[in-house]
Amino acid sequence: MWRIESTRLIAGLTRIVRDVAVAEDLAQDALVAALQQWPESGIPDQPGAWLMTTAKRRGIDALRQRVALERKRQLIGRELETLRQLNQPDLAAQVEDVQDDVLRLIFMTCHPVLSQQARVALTLRLLGDLSTPEIARAFLVSEGTVAQRIVRAKRTLAEARVPFEVPGRDQLAERLSAVLEVIYLVFNEGYAATAGEHWIRPALCRDALRLGRILAALMPREPEVHGLLALMELQASRLRARVGPHGEPVLLADQDRARWDRLLVQRGLVGLRRAEQLSRALGPYTLQAAIAACHARAHSVKETDWPRIVALYDGLAALTGSPVVELNRAVAVTMAFGLEAGLELVDSLADEPALRGYHLLPGVRGDLLVRLGRLVEAGEEFARAADLCDNDRERELLLSRAVACRV
């Protein structure tokens, strides 16, 4: 019940009171009232509308008290306006508006005025309906840290007077990319945990997928929204083949493809087609989804269309200029055009400052060296990779590969 209503309630209230912290408090109060009254009075026909009305009424009471106090100091303008809005009757039209409110709320919680960490915490809290302890567990930080991040984020939004709106045309692309980034960050933390004892955390992937699906329903004309959702659906389709029985990573080449989730594959392919139809120039998420789709369509590593993957990476590299993309491209080149060509590319990335400390650079190099029979060098690379890796499971794998090279 609460999960269904809370985001909409908070979004609707934020439109009125223009402050997420106040909106969340009012929503919580309304829930407490519901928990007290519903067991006796029965659940109302429209629980969402009941909660909204109750929250508004409490908001009015709170504001009246404030206005009464502040009138004496002649500081009323904004409160009176809000009071007027709160007093408006509950019209059906307002209910229709609620979906737009959810969209406005997403743009607010992913606003660039907030730090990346704050955006993630606030978005998961208000739109993913995760509790503070849940968010803390997800990002391996203390509850106190998360609580503080959220409080500070709300204060920052209020102080910066961040408007409750969907950005206009001139800003939309930039702001939307910030929203997509937050969702993808959550997904990735679930898909390949950067640290900790677990290699994947499916619950986080599900939270990100849900946010992505909500966003796709709210912005059906935005190609990259569908691109990101398709990418997440396609990657998530491999989740259950991605860990072994003891929590160890199972990489793409060794995955049992029969265990891939066909429903998610299908949804991903449909989403990708939609993104491709909406725009001729493919954005970075759509390109990555197209790469994931090459894997999803292939029955084996051998049957994979590697030249197409290389071409897609070319596009992605041109768009992003990211050395991580170059590294991935090098792996695809290996598969399409041979080990030597791939190794040459990997070696050209050796001095790339952005990849310093990135465990997959020596990891990939080690792998290529093994396949070229250069075991001593390979062992050194795996050991280096293990040193740089913060995820326990992945480190174990790298260490075992380093050991295997010495035998």
Binding site: I4, I214, L239, V250, A253, R401
Partner: protein, 138 residues
């Protein structure tokens, strides 16, 4: 958690009749709600059993039985696949569906990979032993 929601057939659905515009509208609106909440993964309606068939297995024999099948209320006429945070959430969504007239809609959790646990180990252990190919493509 993933759920399958099974919608039973009726004499009308078995006769191949389409629901009224009113019902279709209510159902479309409900589906939109499900999609906008990120809950609905799939959902389809099924044609009447007169267009379906059954295959009976008995030893090595395979007997084909053509539809229609009797007992309309035991017949599945449609289904949804939902992704919800909990069974409670799924039930809450189901309660909001525009059905009436004493019809009972069944909600069933779908097995997740975790449910199988150790039973999957032999094949995967083997896969693990073959583990090689650390690439960024995973």
């Amino acid at each position: 958690m993933r759920f399958m929601v099974l919608v039973p057939g009726s004499s009308e659905s078995e006769a191949g009749g389409m629901p009224s515009t009113e019902i279709l509208e209510a159902m479309t609106k409900y589906n939109e709600e499900l999609v906008k909440a990120g809950v609905m993964l799939a959902g389809e309606g099924l044609r009447p059993t007169s267009q379906g068939a059954k295959v009976r297995f008995s030893g090595g024999d395979r007997t084909v039985i053509d539809g229609p099948f009797t007992e309309a209320k035991e017949i599945v006429a449609g289904y949804w696949i939902w992704e919800c945070a909990s069974r409670d959430e799924a039930i809450e969504w189901l309660k909001r569906a525009p059905f009436d007239g004493g019809v009972e809609i069944e909600l069933r959790p779908i097995f997740e990979a975790d449910d199988f646990g150790e039973q999957l180990t032999p094949g995967l252990r083997e896969a693990n032993e073959r583990l090689r190919g650390q690439t960024a493509h995973n």
